[in-house]
Amino acid sequence: MEEEAFTDINGKPITLDCHSHSSFCREFTVSSPKVSIGKVMVYTCSVWLLAYAVFFFTQNTAVLSSAILITLVGMMLHIHFVKVDHESLLVIGSLGIQVSSSYASGREVTTFIEMSKIKDIVINEAIYMHQIIYYLCVLLKEPFEPNEVSSVVPLFQSSKPRLGCLVKVYKSCQEILSTCQ
């Protein structure tokens, strides 16, 4: 178990845990920093201040209650659907790859890709918003033509680590993939 600090594409710090369960089973976890209390406070306060300003002119109390509701619901939605704390990639040689992401609320989404469907794991480039970034992705085989690629599954979609981190994961993955095939 080792932990290394990297940055994501926007320069925010992230950490990468490499956990070697055995020679053909490795787990990579990219963790983003937790939701900071300060940030939550700032957002909440600004929404409330805005609501109070509106209330001051309209004298309508519904504004205040809806502001409270909005902040609460917004926060819940954010931690449940948007904010991802950890993204992990579990590579088990000969079995497959498990991709899971755990949200700040504790919700986990896990998908598993069988080794027989996987063609390769590669680093690719893409245009993302107004940037051009590197990303790690799994290439899936066409069912009946093993040399063709049917689709691409991008990994670490929410943490978006930079190239240095991706290269490290890529190299370890390739080690496992090369031993088991």
């Binding site: 245009i127 689709s151 691409v152 390739q174 095939q181």
Partner: protein, 472 residues
């Protein structure tokens, strides 16, 4: 994250960079970014120029990337032969494959390309391409050296050329160096953009001689064939061709025409063919792919070009390279292209072209022309991409030593050089561009952008990858 796409078309890079690679990058002379709206899959002279020049520069050890706009579903990053990297940026296309320009909106993506590829020279192509103009503008804002290649001639008379020329004046007023494809084109560009002629170099286009070799056995012996290969549009003088065909076909019963290309003026040729019942003697082949051109050329004896304006005209060089006798109009840069004994120049009238063609036909009948092979041998070494790349390299060498005007000087130059109104407007736009760049640098500093893995070149990762066996 980006788009999911079929990765079969995408050559992917395994990213292995070690110190050896870094050392190689240091030895490189230039990191060049070619920018134009026109690139493959679009077909044309500018497109092949950019591709061939890039390949030769890569061969010489430079790093070259190409930035163009997305063509349909082809967007993102692609690799061509020798690891030539092409960025198809998602910018809105406005009119005939040219992107819309606001002088500002393309900055984030182009900055990303320039920074991550560590570009030192930005080389923009074609004055019709607004992306090229934008890229020059941004490159100067970012302090990069700039080169511009002009591929076309322009008049001074109508409103559209007045506007385009003003835009050209503005983009070129602080561009380090300009390349034109012929001396006539240089005179034209110097006048249009009000330039110092000493920062304009003339580097002609080139033709790959191995693609265009003669093969006299393909010529039918019982007839004389005139080949025309061009887009069938007004500027290529297709109306003149419509006058020449009946004139000559009535006089010479063994004369055949072979016409390759597509366009709105095809109607004219079809009408002529219909009216004079020439279906068996005038063949319209429709649009030709580049690889099929040679197969058509070698079937003919005479190559005819009826263009009304032309900066360089690669077609006549291709024709001569296949051993054909070339007859052409005397317009634009055409008189500079071939030595007098390989080309017959005529005025752009039906009368003059018919006279020229008749002389050539008469000589052809008396067999007084040199053999196709000897013509090919003379033309073969006139225009090579290697030579073009060498001369372009000299331009880059010169340019990187030059100063990119800092903002204050640039604003002053814009206002002094482009007139009080347009100059002030574009000084303001340059200012905006600079502020926008500052904003982007604050949002995402350069140090947070990954430097792109360099795969180009004869010893690049590209070659290693093909030799190295995949893991599976």
């Amino acid at each position: 994250m980006g788009q999911r796409r079929r990765a079969g078309a995408v050559k992917t890079l395994s990213s292995e960079r070690d110190s050896a690679d870094v050392a190689r990058i240091c030895n490189r002379k230039h990191n060049i970014c070619m920018v134009s709206d026109f690139f493959y899959p679009n077909m044309g002279g500018v497109e092949s120029h950019i591709y061939q020049l890039s390949q030769c520069l890569i061969e010489k050890g430079h790093k070259v990337v190409i930035a163009t706009h997305a063509y349909g579903r082809r967007r993102g990053v692609r690799y061509l032969t020798n690891g030539l990297k092409v960025y198809y940026l998602p910018l809105q296309v406005m009119y005939s494959q040219s992107t819309a320009t606001t002088c500002v909106h393309s900055l984030p993506l182009l900055r990303c390309v320039f920074v991550r590829e560590q570009i030192t020279v930005v080389h923009a192509h074609s004055s019709f391409s607004s992306m090229a103009h934008d890229a020059l503008f941004h490159a100067k804002t970012m302090g990069l050296n700039t080169v511009f290649t002009d591929h076309s001639l322009f008049g001074f008379a109508d409103l559209s050329s007045v506007l385009t020329n003003k835009l050209l004046t503005i983009t070129l007023c602080d561009t380090n160096h300009i390349v034109c494809v012929s001396y006539t084109s240089k005179e034209n560009t110097v006048l249009r953009a009000v330039l110092n002629p000493e920062i304009v170099s003339v580097i002609p286009n080139a033709v790959d001689p191995t693609d265009f070799t003669p093969d006299p056995s393909q010529r039918p012996a019982d007839r004389i064939t005139i080949v025309v290969i061009s887009r069938l549009v007004y500027r290529k003088g297709i109306d003149l061709l419509g006058g020449i065909i009946p004139e000559l076909c009535l006089k010479h019963p063994d004369l055949h025409f072979l016409i390759g290309g597509e366009g709105p003026k095809r109607l004219v040729l079809e009408e002529v063919r219909e009216k004079y019942q020439l279906h068996d003697r005038v063949r319209l082949l429709g649009a030709l792919e580049h690889k099929d051109v040679r197969g058509v050329l070698v079937q003919g004896h005479i190559f005819l070009n009826t263009s009304l304006t032309e900066a360089f005209c690669m077609a006549i060089v291709e024709g001569a390279s296949c051993g054909l006798q070339v007859v052409s109009t005397r317009v634009g840069g055409i008189p500079e292209v071939l030595p007098d004994d390989l080309i017959t120049l005529c005025e752009p009238t039906v009368r003059s072209l018919c006279d020229g063609l008749e002389q050539v036909i008469a000589k052809q009948r008396s067999d007084s022309f040199p053999s196709p092979a000897s013509i090919h041998n003379r033309v073969r070494n006139l225009y090579t991409w290697k030579n073009v790349a060498e001369r372009t390299e000299k331009v880059y060498d010169k340019v990187v030593g030059e100063e990119v005007l800092p903002l204050a000087k640039r604003l002053r130059r814009l206002r002094s050089h482009c007139g009080p109104v347009a100059g002030s407007i574009f000084a303001f736009v340059a200012m905006l561009d600079f502020l926008f760049l500052l904003l982007l640098q604050w949002l995402l500093p350069d140090r947070f952008m990954d430097v792109a893995v360099d795969a180009t070149g004869p010893h690049g990762l590209w070659r290693q990858k093909t030799s190295r066996k995949k893991f599976d």
